[in-house]
Amino acid sequence: MSVQTQLERVAPITTPRARRRSSTRFLLGGGALLGVLAILAIAAPLLAPHDPEAVVVREVLGAPSFDHPFGSDVLGRDVLSRVLYGLRVSLLVSVSAVLVSTIIAVPLGLLAGYFGRWVDTTISRTLDMILVLPAMLLAITFIAILGPGSAVAALAIAVIYLPILARVMRSSTLIVTRNEFVVGARARGAGHLRVIVSHVAPNAMGPVIVQASVLSAFALQLEAGLSFLGLGTQPPTPSLGGMLSDGRDVLVQAPWVEIFPGLAIVVAVLAFTFLGEGLRRAFDPKGVAE
């Protein structure tokens, strides 16, 4: 019976208004969540109740209390303060990595999509080489060469997402370039650069912004994973992944050491995912972004 419902829905009746309403809900939800997280991260020095790196022996593995709402860790450090500072590092690394990647990918995708032929082949095939290795393995390879650290992790993440972002930009450029107003602009004698900058780029940006938001969620998880392995952000700087690694041996006695940093990652990932979904419904109805 339930199978029937789908089959009978020959044409989905969604009005543009309904679509706009659902996209606004995701955009507001994701945006607000992300805004709160960003404020928490930026204002961490003001908000953190304790010094995140201060070792207090008598507080070792203290349960959550009024003074330490998230408890304290193996070295007696305040988990809440460390989560706030860790969020700062995680957001900084993942957002800057995706931002750098987008800034490089946009012109590459524009060129490939606009000029096609050998320009496209050269750019696309070169970027494809990055996809030879799975993302995590490539990140690890980078770190194997350049040594561990947040900056290297950010660089690795930026490189990994370059082919994905460039491919999305290329596809949306291809679609926009076929439009009449672009053909018209060329026919009126506008140069390539002018056409790309003032006609193609503004209209082709939607999907890549969507993709960047979605990838930020993955970047966040990747950064946390690398730090968990001890290959990302290095101690004593607090990082969410690093905290999860530190508390592994005391998991059963002091679960708060593991629960709160993990929840922080999940909330941040959800914020980016919702934002990406809202942006997708608003700016990428054709589903060019992956």
Binding site: S2, V3, Q4, T5, Q6, L7, V10, P12, M129, V132, L133, P134, A135, M136, L137, I140, T141, I143, A144, I145, L146, G147, P148, A217, Q221, A224, G225, F228, L229, G230, L231, L244, R248, L251, V252, P255, E258, I259, G262, I265, V266, V269, L270, T273
Partner: protein, 319 residues
């Protein structure tokens, strides 16, 4: 049938440049290390003679082309060099460790498919509540970092319930029951996220197919809904699903690196992580190579399978 063969042959040939690029990446790992890699590797207490000897051993004192040719030649003979720390041949080390990684990722993908595909079918054809529940599972599976999920599972199964070991490993051949007991949590941890992706793909591919006109004609022919979904819609959605499963195996191999470390499984991923912290470059190379080759072979199999499932692909009619 000959066009099928040609398609397979073409796809196999395409992996050659991919393997070549991959080999260069792996080859360069040690050579791109800033400063003197051998010095970094051996630490500052090593004597100059010692450094020179290891450099010669690794062939790093020759010109780069000769280095690559020698290295690639040795690779073809199955010679991956030896571990800097234990001095054991790396090919032996991989032979011990690959089965662990294969068991982990293999079981995880089987479990992920077993959860993701049926739920995806329900999600595409079910009522509103089925759709909401499956969507919840997708968001949950995608947003939770796998290693944190693993930690939470350990907390539940070894902390609260105390029914499973938190970490460790015994080879399957020695003790199959305990091997599987050790594997349950890591496999479950890896499978949940992958199942979410497979569910999402199955749902969207199937929804797309069910909106196509030929489904209406099948209904007009008097076929039952069950028959339309299982005989036609799934068959048409299969290439998209198989493609994503192939891609997800790559993600899974990456995820295994973290999960092996978390659950102390002696697989290739853990080998690589340990080797990086010990600056044991030959072992890093061997591990990266093993995972990368696995990934390339899986992609090859996936593409051939997709070609077999969709007659238009092997006829070269669509991409």
């Amino acid at each position: 049938m000959t066009s099928r063969l040609a398609f397979v042959a073409r796809r196999v040939l395409l992996t050659i440049p991919v393997l070549f690029v991959m080999s260069i990446v792996v080859f360069l790992i040690i050579r791109l290390v800033p400063g003197d890699p051998v010095r970094t590797m051996l630490g500052f207490r090593a004597t100059d003679a010692n450094v020179a000897e290891v450099r010669h051993q690794l062939g790093l004192d020759q010109d780069i082309l000769t280095q690559y040719l020698n290295w690639a030649g040795a690779l073809f003979r199955g010679d991956l060099g030896s571990d800097i720390v234990s001095h054991a041949p790396l090919s032996e080390l991989l032979a011990q460790r690959l089965p662990v990684t294969f068991e982990l990722t293999g079981l995880a993908i089987v479990l992920a498919v077993a959860i993701g595909v049926p739920l995806g079918i329900r999600a595409a054809t079910g009522g509103r509540w089925v759709k909401r529940l499956t969507e919840g599972f997708v968001v949950f599976g995608i947003s939770i970092p796998d290693f944190w999920l693993g930690i939470m599972l350990v907390l539940l199964f070894t902390g609260t319930l105390a029914i499973l070991p938190p970490s460790g490993y015994v080879p399957f051949a020695d003790d199959p029951v305990n091997n599987l007991r050790y594997m349950i949590l890591p496999v479950l941890t890896l499978a949940v996220g992958e199942a979410a992706y497979i569910l999402r793909t199955t749902r969207s591919a199937l929804t797309g197919v069910l909106d196509r006109p030929f489904i209406t004609f099948l209904r007009a022919k008097g076929l039952s809904t069950r028959r339309i979904v299982s005989g036609h819609a799934l068959r048409n959605a299969a290439p998209a699903i198989v493609t994503v499963i192939g891609i997800q195996i790559g993600v899974l191999l990456g995820g295994a690196i973290i999960i092996e470390t978390l659950f102390a499984l002696p697989g290739v991923g853990r080998l690589v992580v340990t080797a990086i912290t010990q600056r044991n470059y030959p072992a890093v190379q061997a591990g990266v190579l093993a995972i990368a080759v696995t990934f390339i072979v899986v992609s090859l199999i996936t593409d051939i399978l997709v070609g077999a499932l969709d007659p238009r692909v092997s006829d070269g009619k669509s991409t």
